[in-house]
């Protein structure tokens, strides 16, 4: 059902090749296919429009019209532009006084608790950091216990659960404990919340104010559709995110939300969740996600074959 871009453009350019030179109209036809391909990959419409305009400018500027392999040229421009817009991956920022607070936010079920444990394990094993995890989720049944169990599985300390405390109080206790017991990093896992839920968005903003996190990561599902715009905008405006962690990249979603969120917030995609297991966390590589959004594996070799 969802043909990749190569298939879509291939048909158009096969027809055109036989006719010789391309017109600007031909490029526009190609760009209409680019638009559909991106929408089917769940890239948000405003981002698609901006993208198509950029590609058009470049395509005309780079004289695709007179090229002998215009299809490949357009694909290459699309791909390169996509990689550029996705930006480079960045490491977790730990440049702050210890204990460095890292705040995890996002919609319900996006993968915050699992990702909290994944990052903690990575910091512990790879960077030899002493990490404390705290669950500020007083809403979801057994949420605090979930983090505690993950702590046991990973050998990362968790803040003792005190029933009845509100999220801000738990966050303060976590930072105090972190300071007193000499932790390098304090990971703050929060309850899932809708970005249009004013009350809960204010609650997480209060946690931010109380802890001054060095990183506030928006944890978002790679399967997210057009709503990525609203989610990213609201979390960025109301909480102020420093990066994005995309989960369920081990699925078969085309992952257009990555481009939408990156473009709308201007914040880097820092990490990818690649599975349910606690070590399934990877760095972000824009070219891989670009190929995936376009529905083609290795674009560069494809272009070279032409």
């Amino acid at each position: 059902m969802f043909d990749g871009l190569t298939g879509r453009l291939g048909d158009i350019f096969d027809k055109l090749r036989r006719r010789g030179a391309l017109s600007e109209e031909d490029v526009n036809a190609a760009l209409r296919e680019v638009r559909v391909a991106l929408l089917e990959a769940d890239v948000a419409l405003p981002v698609v429009k901006q993208f198509v305009n950029q590609v058009k400018e470049r395509a005309i500027g780079q004289e695709v019209l007179r090229s002998i392999t215009p299809g490949q040229q357009v694909i290459k421009i699309v791909h390169d532009n996509l990689v550029e817009m996705l930006g480079q991956g960045e490491e977790i920022n730990l440049n702050a006084a210890a204990p460095v607070p890292i705040l995890m936010v996002g919609l319900q079920g996006s993968g915050k608790t699992t990702s909290t444990a994944k990052i903690a394990l990575r910091l512990k094993n790879r960077d030899r950091k002493k990490v404390l995890m705290a669950s500020l989720d007083v809403r979801r049944p057994a949420a605090q216990e979930q983090l505690k169990v993950l702590g046991e599985q990973t050998g990362v300390a968790t803040l003792p659960i005190v029933p009845g405390q509100d999220p801000v109080a738990i966050a303060r206790r976590a930072i105090e404990t972190g300071r007193r017991e000499g932790y390098d990093v304090v990971m703050l896992d929060t309850a899932g919340r809708l970005s249009i839920d004013e009350e809960l968005m204010a609650e997480v903003a209060a946690v931010r104010d109380a802890t001054k996190p060095a990183e506030t990561l928006l944890v978002a599902d790679a399967m997210t559709g057009q709503d990525a715009v609203t989610v990213a905008t609201n979390f960025n405006d109301k909480v102020g995110i420093t990066g994005i962690l995309l989960t369920r990249v081990d699925g078969d979603a085309r992952g257009g939300a990555a481009l939408s969120m990156r473009q709308i917030t201007g914040k880097p995609i820092k990490l990818l969740g690649m599975g349910e297991k606690i070590d399934a966390l990877e760095a972000f590589h824009p070219d891989r996600i670009a190929g995936r959004i376009l529905g083609m594996g290795d674009v560069v070799s494809l272009v070279e074959k032409a």
Partner: protein, 295 residues
């Protein structure tokens, strides 16, 4: 909500004292795309509008109503309540779906609803993988007054389902709700495990599971197509529940899903609480997609 009001503003903006021309139609199509209908379905729905109204002066209300009617026509046939066979002791409901889509919460909500109807309900903690998944379901069991059959994390899920069904039969309960671990549809191994659960259930009762529900998160975009297709093929999904419709996402992908798979949509989730489950109402869904007051 925010996105539907955006949609309303958009449509009103397009059609104030305007003819329905190509440009207007394109803008309209784009507004549907932003509700996750997908480019193909959005084009189809607007084409239908063009067929009847092209070139005419149309008011925003008229356009919205026509589009909502068009959407309702597509999703209407799949709006079917979940039916329980009272003769079965138990009627077995297996709940499946991708990670974090709302399986466990939906089970809690369904359990409350069945209990309110005077039925006896048992829950089976078939997610033996995720940390504290068993505790989570146990809390839902307490909230709704339902016994929970569980084993330790790491135990065999199919074995647990087998035990639970035998126990439910012995106690002659009306409904057994079986929770399962979340899994992505492209993981062959995990999908095989799910099939094994079904096979083992059938050893106790050949006709079970009598209902297999797939939970879909309204925030999901076009990947919902793959989810429905694979879960349907693997475990014979009999109906869908669309969760998290209280958020800013409108769940528009359901329109193309209804067209393509024709699977019943039984209910929608509209919050995290025990009462936050509603029957799926096609007109209301279509209206809220268009930003029209739904009642």
């Amino acid at each position: 909500s925010k996105s539907s009001s955006k949609l309303t503003e958009g449509i009103s903006g397009i059609f104030t004292k305007r003819k329905l021309d190509d440009e207007a139609l394109e803008e309209l199509e784009e507004l549907l795309i932003t509700a996750d209908l997908g480019p193909t379905t959005a084009a189809k729905v607007t084409a239908e509008l063009a067929r009847t109204r092209f070139g005419k002066e149309v008011s925003p209300e008229e356009v919205k109503a026509t589009l909502a009617a068009e959407v309702a026509k597509i999703v209407g046939p799949v709006a079917k309540p979940l039916e329980i066979d009272a003769a079965l002791k138990p009627h077995v409901i297996l709940v499946v779906g991708v990670n974090g889509t709302g399986k466990t919460t939906t089970i809690g909500k369904l359990a409350r609803q069945f209990r309110a109807e005077g039925k006896t309900v048992m829950l089976a903690a078939g997610d033996t993988f995720r940390a504290a998944a068993v505790s989570q379901l146990k809390i839902w069991g307490e909230r709704t007054g339902c016994p929970v059959i569980a084993r330790d994390t790491g135990a065999d899920a199919a074995g647990l389902a087998f035990d639970a069904l035998e126990e439910a039969r012995r106690q002659s309960v009306d409904i057994l709700l079986i929770d399962t671990a979340g899994r992505l549809q492209n993981k062959a191994g995990l999908m095989d495990e799910l099939r094994k659960i079904v096979r083992v259930i059938k050893k106790v009762d050949e006709s079970a599971p009598h209902t297999t529900l797939l939970t879909l998160d309204a925030t999901t975009g076009q990947n919902a197509h793959n989810q429905v297709e694979v879960f349907r093929d693997m475990v014979n999904v009999s109906g869908l529940i669309l969760t998290k419709l209280d958020g800013s996402a409108r769940g528009g992908v359901l329109v193309s899903l209804a067209e393509r798979f024709k699977l019943p949509v039984h209910a929608i989730g509209i919050g995290e609480g025990v009462y936050d489950l509603r029957p799926f109402d096609a007109d209301q869904f279509a209206k809220s997609l268009m930003g029209l007051p739904s009642q």
